[in-house]
Symmetry: C2
Amino acid sequence: MDFYSKFVKRREKLNSLLCVGIDPDIAKLPPSLEKVPDKLYVFSKEIVDATAEYAVAYKPNIAFFEAFGSKGIEQFEKLISHIKTNHPEIPIVADAKRGDLDNTARQYAKFFFKELGVDSLTLSPYMGSDTIKPFIEDDSRMVFLLCLTSNPDSAELQQKTFSETGRTLYREVAALSEKFPVKNVGLVVGATHPKELLEIRKAHPDRIFLIPGYGAQGASLEEVISVCGKNSLVNSSRSIIFSSSGPDFAEGARKAAASVSEQMRKLLV
Amino acid sequence: MDFYSKFVKRREKLNSLLCVGIDPDIAKLPPSLEKVPDKLYVFSKEIVDATAEYAVAYKPNIAFFEAFGSKGIEQFEKLISHIKTNHPEIPIVADAKRGDLDNTARQYAKFFFKELGVDSLTLSPYMGSDTIKPFIEDDSRMVFLLCLTSNPDSAELQQKTFSETGRTLYREVAALSEKFPVKNVGLVVGATHPKELLEIRKAHPDRIFLIPGYGAQGASLEEVISVCGKNSLVNSSRSIIFSSSGPDFAEGARKAAASVSEQMRKLLV
């Protein structure tokens, strides 16, 4: 099944937009896992199994695995295989922020979509359309283009305005996404920019947004959902996966995911 | 030794700017390697050993290894280790085009600079300065920011002009590089844009440029060198590494590298 259908089906079933971000930062793993071999995999798998009833999607970030080279990537492969085997109904967005010339892009597409078989991938749009197309030649696949990111220095380039179109760079990327079907290209828009979130949503009502960074410095969950509506995946990473640092970390993650899901259900009524 | 010193030393010794791009596209490997296990590594290693006397730097692109997942990354690790052990004087630019939030960027930095120990890395600048800084906390390291890339659709975003500064996006990235020392941040500028190459060089005379795409559709080697001068690494990949598809592929690469080097030496007099 394609990413888009999987996403819609899951969203309707759970009445939720929760994307669980799997960022197994080695410095933050529970001390109880210290001597466990393959601890990135073990931690992530436990989190996945504990939160599966609440996850509309999973977004594992490959950087936390790539930090350990081929040994880390091996654990990433095991994690993806575990999710696909045990929770095949939950779509996977690999957070990798790749982007390269067409033939090179095809190599990345081969890994993520053929070897691993994830449903979706985050991409950097800097190089333009011909570096995006190779990823969606198989049109069951979805990519999310970085549009307006949640970090402070995102303003440096993304919030400047092009004189040719009167659009900011992030709006230009959003406009570029309209060259492609909604089911193939979505946008990453950080909840740290509530005003811009509304602006982008108004211009692109049907695009799927992947929204990191709600709470803390940015928009509240309520604000994000009222602005962005149902064509969204609202990501939560640390507040779920590192909810407890004890040996009960998986149970802590389950409770945190349950609590966010409950809030989402109420807001989506 | 830091990247910058290694580069300068090597450039002066060889009187050349040749960066050999290692892009072992599986579809183009010599048939003689068909049954060789670890053929990405074997091919790349042979190319490296055959061209080492002419290479000012090597630029292996990790995508061609990542295409095969952890097994591919293992071969990438072996290749980097081989270069560092046997040709320690030749700096390595890992072509990866990464870019992510600060803590996540730190994970990529850990892999490339600590685990692998390459000297330099290509990055996408889309997310801004706070996503670049983690890579150069160790100030012996160098990153090359994508500035004006060689693909046709690079114009879509990169060649539009910001009304706030009157600069194109690619010039804005070049301006952003000036926040950092020359020895830590360089620019990727495709030779497919000769006019813009001159414009960027005039504004940034001391930055190190990494220049792919000369010949074919773009500027000639002569033009690139006369415009960009010595603070440049001029990349050649396919025309060297796939010079011969026979069992003599390494000798073919050696001859191709020797020929480009000879041209460069004449142009640099």
